[in-house]
Symmetry: C2
């Protein structure tokens, strides 16, 4: 039964779910069919016309089961949405159908020291707000933590603030369990625990609708926020590596931006004099004094410092880091796009420096230091002065040829991003969870209706 959105009997479909919150208003549906894909000029052209047919805002697992059943029985594509802040069109429906918005399914089910049980629509900042008085917080959050949902983070995100300690969501231990609804004529709820959670992690909702999550929490240190400028980028980058490798200094964020990126941070200009390479860091208050010894040792200029308390009341530097760097840059110069890079482990950062010199102003340097399988690694979210798709691809190819892995953000399929191959576990899981291929069709392009 092939879905034809123009001839589909929407009225009866909607009538059968009339007690649920359903949005049919076209402008609103259009809005709720988009994410931040426009950060990529490539995706801009590919996804601009993609829109859902209607939006259903489910609030409970029972409602999710009903929507899944209706879609399965009538062959309607279903694409899940959290807050719609993804960068690769993850929640954009390629073939129309239902956008299942779970942002109102947002109860914190249970909190105990070190562990949280939540519904998928819980905003990351809302969870932290509840957990922090108990001394705990999420291990890692994207810079969109104020608006992003936990379901969307696991469904489409990777890591962020805190990844300098705990790695990425794909690292064993950072996600304990998921409840996932199938897309079948009689949908089931499947509980995944242990390594099995990785079947659904970062699968763009193509192989199950997450209805509950069990996550480990991290100790909520009071995080001071500081800015340090340096005379040159090489020293700033080295500072990032040294801080990442300093096991006695507790940190949550090590963001290094070369000129001219700091100029894009309008609200921070009054703290920055001149146009110098900049480190944005979050450091535990207990480590502040010794952190400043590292700054001193590396010749940095500490130009901004807020205690955790002060930082909680105003600007948070976290919202200038990770892909917020790109957001602020594009608000000044919309011709900018970005890369996602993992540089090889190298305490001298040779390849980073090579790329810095090779591309110069065409690819302004932005590094986020993270832990990757026990090593302090420079991840790059470098900006790119976009000209043509061919030039962008040439820049990407050069990085790959030199050994800097690109996790291509200019693609909406799972296979072309990240590891650039299909994840066989995720594909196999889709066959059992969504045999009709109705969940977010087109995103796992390896899937086909052929026999498994």
């Amino acid at each position: 039964m092939s879905f034809d959105r123009t001839t589909f009997a929407w009225d009866s479909f909607i009538a059968a779910l009339a007690d649920l919150e359903i949005i049919t208003d076209r402008p609103q549906v259009a809005k709720l069919s988009q994410d931040y894909y426009h950060f990529s000029p490539i995706l801009q052209t590919q996804l601009a016309d993609k829109v859902g047919d209607l939006v259903i805002r489910a609030k409970t697992e029972a409602e999710v089961l009903r929507v899944a059943q209706a879609c399965s029985q009538q062959g309607v594509p279903l694409t899940v949405r959290g807050a719609g802040s993804g960068n690769y069109g993850q929640c954009i429906p390629l073939e129309g159908g239902v956008v299942l918005d779970l942002s109102a399914m947002n109860r914190i089910l249970r909190l105990q020291p070190g562990m949280a049980w939540v519904e998928p629509g819980v905003k990351l900042a809302a969870l932290d707000r509840e957990a922090r008085p108990l001394g705990w917080e999420l291990r890692m959050v994207p810079s969109t933590y104020r608006t992003a949902t936990i379901g969307g983070f696991i469904g489409g995100g990777s890591g962020g603030l805190g990844s300098i300690n705990y790695g990425f969501l794909s690292d064993r231990g950072n996600l304990c369990a998921l409840r996932v609804v199938t897309l079948e004529p009689e949908p089931r709820v499947v509980e995944l625990r242990g390594d099995a959670v990785q079947q659904v992690n970062h699968a763009y909702g193509t192989n199950g609708i997450i209805t509950a999550l069990e996550l480990p929490l991290a100790p909520a240190y009071p995080w001071a926020e500081l800015m340090v400028t340096f005379g040159d980028f090489a020293t700033a980058a080295q500072f990032g590596q040294r801080l990442g490798d300093a096991d006695g200094l507790i940190k949550k964020l090590i963001c290094i931006c070369d000129r001219p990126i700091p100029q894009y941070f309008a609200a921070l200009q009054r703290y920055l004099s001149g146009d110098r390479p900049l480190a944005l860091v979050m450091v535990a208050e207990q480590s502040l004094e010794l952190f400043k010894e590292l700054v001193r040792e590396m010749g940095g200029d500490l130009c901004y410092e807020k205690s955790a308390f002060e930082a909680s009341k105003g600007i948070s530097l976290g919202e200038y880091s990770w892909n917020h760097t790109t957001l602020h840059a594009r608000s000044v110069d919309p011709s900018l796009t970005y890369l996602q890079t993992i540089f090889p482990h190298d305490r001298d950062l040779a390849l980073v420096h090579h790329m810095h010199q090779h591309f110069g102003d065409e690819v302004p340097m932005h590094l986020e230091f993270i832990r990757l399988q026990g090593l302090t690694i420079a991840a790059g979210l470098q900006l790119v002065r976009y000209t043509t798709p061919e030039r962008l691809q040439a820049i990407i190819d050069y990085h790959e040829d030199q050994g800097a892995l690109i996790f291509n953000p200019h693609t909406y399929t799972l296979e072309d991003a990240g590891r650039k191959t299909v994840d066989p576990r995720q594909l196999a899981f889709k066959r059992t969870m969504d045999p009709q291929g109705l969940l977010n069709p087109g995103k796992m392009r390896s899937w086909s209706p052929s026999t498994p």
Copy 2:
């Protein structure tokens, strides 16, 4: 004024300090002049006859100042003692004199989230007992945590349980401040903060008497304790490296012992069947489920598991790790001694495997995985079936030639251990803190009465 213990006027010296607790009873003085140097057959011969002249048990900084003054004005050597559990004769007086025992100077001055202020005689376990109800604990402790003092740990220790997260005491951030008393005719109290604390860290009390310490605390996760056995040592070692590199799994101890070491653990025999390579681990309860996935992946046999609560009531596996492994081994076979090794960073552990095969049963393998400047490293506390000093030296030389750094435990001087050179900062500091060279003479052998 040269000190001659046989002609020195002890009676008047003691009389002037008669209100302090002074021990002159020879057997007790002998006992309080020793540590665990006998783990080394080399040190056994060199230090067996070393003894103090009397022991003074000071309880306050004021009392310490009076003893320092008396020793300085009368030219008497002064050697500080905590609990006397060092392994290299750190607290053994080489030239007699006063043993200043600070084990009764044991007040916890102040505890707040993330930081502790303590007197030097505080036992490490006592500090943890007070801090844990607040959710905090010491970042790192030696396996002698039940008896060792914090002053002795900073004065003569390096690291231990927790070093897999925070590195060693010498890593910036793990020690915030020290109050240190000089040995001068008018002794001063010097406060050291920031990097300056490293002048006194692991200096064997040769350049100041620590009277208070400010230390950062770590989140007190509930630590489950587990034993996992493997079919062969290579897999057990690889498991240690993988666990160390698993950023999403929270751990405090990764101790790997090859055959026949597990047989030396009498109280653990009933949990171990056969003689298999063994991992002793402490893992945060929130990480247990995913930890077991790693065990499964590596084909380990989980043969023992205690929750944090259960572990708090009986045996703690921590007291089989680090140099307690040597303690238990020597209690069965006193001909055993040990090495202290830092293997180069290598996720394949090639040099570990080489040494394992090269020395076989002569050097039973015992690894402690630690973090060292951002890298998961295998430290070795391998046992040695001791035969002769020449053979021991040949084993040490072979390790060094192959790139496995030996931190020689068979020497009582600072210069011959560790880095094998004098630490110029510590030497320079001694000149300002102890111009007469009366503090623990002979341990910093580079010091001489010549002009600085």
